[in-house]
């Protein structure tokens, strides 16, 4: 618990002071979504059909954008050594950092997603399901992404490696997330898909911090 009180304010403050990062992620998200009407044409029916998938893929890529910096800065300036040595459990530290990442990327993306969905012509009645699916899905992305970020620490071209390593692991989350919205759009219940997403989150929440902590300890030597 103390790890959260110590690390969350620090990480949020650092991100807000250095600015830019959050704005870049959001701008990337918006631009990626905006590219699709240019690519596939302005047909409302077609765009409405692919809207859920587009918003989900864009959110996933935007999440990835900020991931490689999750531990890299602490690693480079020596803070990570001290965090590993501190009496705070490393798993809790990791969870706090992943939560900060989600608050700075996932949450703003979720708040923007109805706007993006509206722009693509997704029916308004489906928006709550889209938001709910992102609410369950984006924390998974932050947690799974943290494992990749820890594993690629110190690697040359870590960003590209991180994407190769992590994107395949994002696929289940993407499938369930997009399927939930799809189901709601066609009048079916989104419940099973949302439950599966919740299952992903329930698995990632305890397991990812353990994996990340192990990877960070490994990165020290």
């Amino acid at each position: 618990m103390r790890a959260f009180l110590v690390l969350l304010p620090r990480d949020l403050r650092l991100a807000l002071r250095s600015g830019g990062d959050v704005a870049a992620v959001l701008a990337f998200f918006v631009i990626t979504v905006v590219l699709f009407p240019f690519g596939v044409g302005p047909e409302t029916v077609l765009l409405g059909r692919i809207a859920a998938g587009v918003v989900w893929v864009a959110a996933l890529l935007a999440t990835l954008l900020a991931l490689d910096r999750l531990f890299a800065q602490d690693y480079e300036d020596g803070s990570l050594d001290l965090l590993v040595l501190s009496p705070l459990p490393l798993e809790a530290t990791v969870l706090a950092k992943a939560l900060a990442h989600w608050l700075l990327t996932g949450l703003p993306l979720i708040l923007l997603s109805p706007v993006m969905a509206a722009m693509l012509g997704l029916e308004a009645r489906v928006w709550p399901v889209l938001v709910l699916s992102l609410l369950l899905g984006t924390p998974c992305l932050s947690l799974i992404g943290a494992v990749g970020a820890a594993l690629t620490l110190g690697a040359r071209r870590g960003g590209a490696l991180l994407a190769l390593l992590i994107l395949p692991l994002f696929i289940p989350v993407l499938i369930f997330g997009a399927a939930a919205v799809e189901a709601a759009a066609t009048g079916l219940t989104a419940r099973p898909h949302l439950l599966l997403l919740a299952g992903c989150l329930a698995a990632a929440l305890p397991l990812a911090p353990i994996a990340v902590a192990a990877a960070l300890r490994q990165a020290q030597s």
Binding site: V6, R13, L14, R17, D77, G78, D81, L85, S86, Q220
Partner: protein, 206 residues
């Protein structure tokens, strides 16, 4: 307070597939200091990281009787964020170490390294020596018994080196243990020396 001690026996360290040192044994009781010397690459930093618990020993055993979290480590890097002020930096590391770091404790820590007056300036405006001093100020917070200092004098001016010597003496007087690697001779009463080149392993041609 029970006597704290650090005991190493037959330590060996492997780095990049090469044995840096082997057969290293020492014992440090409360109030003692050990100064590591040796040429570049002789394993001073590796030994400090090994004692800190950041890297596992290749062979040998290491016993530290202090509580977990009672080790304070200063590496080559200062762990100072350019966007935070010295006060925020110390508040964070103090809280991470589990110390009650009120404003008074932080003021005292800043004064101990002569950084009072700069406490609300973002660290990006600090010089390299001032950052080093801020990194050393961390040691004032928390209850670490064992100080591990890797080249603590890097970038420090003469007055700061003198302050560091005084702080090390005070820490030892309070029963603390200090292990430090340095190329600059420091005035430390009764400190023992450990020359790491004595434990170097000769390359065996295959």
């Amino acid at each position: 307070m029970s006597a704290t001690l650090l005991k190493a026996s037959c330590l060996a360290c492997l780095r990049g597939g090469r044995l840096v040192f082997a057969g290293l044994s020492f014992r440090l009781d409360a109030g003692e200091a050990l100064v590591l010397t040796g040429p570049n690459g002789s394993g001073k930093s590796s030994l400090l990281r090994l004692v800190a618990g950041l890297v596992p020993a290749f062979a040998g055993t290491l016993d530290w009787t202090g509580a977990p979290g009672s080790i304070a480590y200063l590496g080559h890097q200062d762990a100072v964020k350019p966007a935070l002020t010295p006060r925020e930096t110390l508040r964070f590391w103090g809280a991470a170490a589990g110390a009650a770091s009120g404003a008074a404790a932080i003021d005292a820590a800043l004064a101990a390294v002569g950084l009072d007056g700069l406490d609300d300036l973002p660290c990006r405006y600090l010089s390299a020596g001032q950052r080093r001093r801020l990194a050393l100020a961390r040691f004032e917070l928390g209850r670490a018994r064992l100080w591990l200092l890797d080249e603590p004098t890097l970038g420090l001016d003469i007055a700061s080196v003198a302050r560091l010597e005084a702080r090390v003496a005070r820490h030892r007087a309070g029963g603390g243990i200090v292990m430090l690697a340095t190329h600059v001779p420091l005035a430390l009463d009764g400190a023992r020396g450990l020359a790491l080149e004595d434990f170097a392993v000769a390359e065996v041609p295959l």
